[in-house]
Symmetry: C2
Subunit: 381 residues, 2 copies
């Protein structure tokens, strides 16, 4: 009887190790029933198969023993891990936390758990992360790091796991996406500047291999072209990344070669803050000499000097919408609209001044800063 010996040994060992995590078997013993009965009694979907008093008895025992279902065992059996993955480039970038937060909220509501990972924009780290998450058994993925035509998408569709792109648009037919209308955002910015009399407008853009940087630049050019008869001339420099440092350097390069620039449209607020830093270092007044518009309305952009006029991105809404789509995909529900493009809104603050008018917009009024933003909605709704 070597089997018996082995069995006993193993089980006693595991009992020693796992302090005392209770299983349905413990609950069943306590309630004096078979464990399948416990399983059904505790599962809301199968509960109708069990008599009410039995359910009550089982639940009482479960509570008494401090029973907690083993999600791994359940996941293994049902092939549903109740887990989703979120991949961002860098949680430290202030655009991402509101998105992740919104996703976590939505999935917590349906009992799902959210795992996160950072790629730092390295395709290899992204690939490794996707691989690891699939191993982990995520039921879906929300990815904010896809480049245009990202090869990483193949790994997901191959593994047959639902993916939705957020913030960036991979422009792939296989992946639903939720993003903001980047081109439109830049058009709003350029028109806003043109209305203030600016003609020599420059773009301090971000990386062109991601949709955000690319579409924003395109939108900028399109807007300038539309205003060409008014004498609006486009100029552009690009940062290697959406960071303050890159914005600072790009701005430096821009001004070294172009001396008639009166306004800058930055690819996002980080780049804008970098521009601001360079202008400050050079002693160039903003908005006195050069006006500036950012994008995303990151935290504290209303508190910096000057309060930054920027294009607001509904980051939380991005996360919420992406979650809705992913949840539908996981449930197998047909998803009606899987190419969501949210409308950006211009927030007029203090970093844009009218040109040719000697009176500068000075923040001499003492109205509440939080209420001072002037929202200018995109015209075509």
């Amino acid at each position: 009887m070597p089997k018996k010996t082995k069995t006993t040994k193993t089980s006693s060992l595991s009992l020693q190790e796992r302090s005392s995590r209770k299983t349905i078997i413990d609950v069943a013993k306590c309630a004096g029933v078979h464990w399948s009965t416990v399983s059904r009694g505790l599962n809301p979907e199968k509960r109708h198969l069990i008599s009410p008093e039995m359910i009550e008895r089982v639940e009482a025992c479960a509570k008494k023993l401090g029973y907690r279902a083993n999600a791994m065992a359940s996941a293994l059996r049902t092939q549903r891990s109740r887990t989703v993955g979120v991949i961002v480039s860098n949680l430290g970038d202030p655009v991402h936390p509101p998105i992740v937060r919104a996703i976590e909220d939505r999935f917590a509501e349906i009992g799902y758990v959210t795992i996160v990972g950072n790629t730092d924009n390295h395709p290899l780290r992204q690939a490794a992360l996707i691989d690891r998450f699939i191993q982990q058994g995520v039921e879906g993925l929300i990815v904010a790091t896809f480049e245009r035509n990202d090869p990483g998408i193949a790994a997901c569709v191959e593994a047959n796991i639902p993916v939705v792109a957020v913030f960036r648009d991979p422009e792939s037919e296989f992946v639903p996406s939720v993003r903001v209308d980047d081109a439109k955002a830049m058009e709003l910015a350029v028109h806003h500047l043109a209305e203030h009399g600016h003609r020599h407008i420059a773009h301090v853009g971000g990386p062109q291999n991601v949709s955000t940087g690319y579409h924003r630049y395109r939108g900028f050019r399109r807007a300038c072209k539309a205003l060409a008869q008014d004498g609006v001339a486009p100029t552009a420099v690009f940062g290697e990344a959406f960071t303050v440092e890159e914005g600072q350097f790009a701005c430096e390069r821009l001004l070294a070669e172009n001396h008639d620039i009166t306004a800058i449209v930055a690819g996002n607020d980080m780049l804008a803050v970098g521009c601001l830093r360079h202008l400050r270092n050079r002693g160039i007044s903003c908005p006195g000499s050069i006006s500036l518009i950012g994008m995303n309305d990151m935290l504290f952009m209303d508190a910096i000097a000057p309060a930054l006029t920027t294009i607001s991105t509904p980051t939380a809404e991005l996360g919420t919408q992406a979650s809705h789509i992913l949840i539908a995909m996981i449930k197998g529900t047909p998803v009606q609209n899987d190419r969501i493009v949210l409308k950006p809104v211009l927030l007029a603050r203090d970093s844009v001044a009218a040109i040719k008018l000697p009176t500068r917009a000075r923040s001499s009024d003492f109205s509440d800063t939080a209420k001072r933003d002037v929202r200018i909605r995109s015209r075509q709704s």
Copy 2:
């Protein structure tokens, strides 16, 4: 033979559903060996039991089939999920992302996956989250939401799961903690102001039920008491939370009752920005009329107006240290120091001015903003 029918049905069904996720059995078939051999061949720790050529053959088949280990099955068998949980109050609060980011980095290095959750400071949500994470099988927990003597700790120790508190100190003997010296931080601030001639210093503090708010207030009072012979008089108001709005309201209450205040030490940067907003709305100059010091050195605090003098908190280091401790606990390694208190650093910028001197510190120099910070280290190292 009803069994056969059943089996066939089940397996064919699952084959249909799970597109085609490969298992070790598939790899074993491909390599013509038993799957236990595959299991060992793919496991670095047991690989030495297998002949090199066999390992090669197995790995080739695994790669050819696109085999990905099923983490859930592995976790169930080994009782090790390679998963940790991080609990914060709100990812949208800019203190948290760097912490979470650092944790994710450290655990990614050892192949662990990080799941996150937000409590919004609701004890019930925290309890639910801890419960859910334990169900999920996390091997450890890093919690940034513990209140002092938090009852939620009981659930963790009862489940026998390693926990380390970060940022906040639950002051429990059962939980290691990694935090910054909050009291010392406020002392630095008060001394800095005293050195600039301030005598009427007020504290705009945060909630007192969490260690951060509590210790910062204590540190503030201690510093004032130490300077009592110099005529330093402490005053304090408190926000219900560490938010801009609460800071604004608290500042309003403060100034309504105290008209001789010349300096404010805020409980953190959010509260400081709130103070700034109120001062601005009231037309009170900062630092001209009232000096201000914040804490944490959140992102963009060097770009706001005025550039905020603040006490820097090494947030990423908090996450890294907490991870180190948790990893040691998970491995069973004895952890040398499980009460880590990091030293805060004062960053002198533009929101503090000397009193009684008619010349105000105006930011008229054009040196690089990023390099303008003056770091004042805590004296007793």
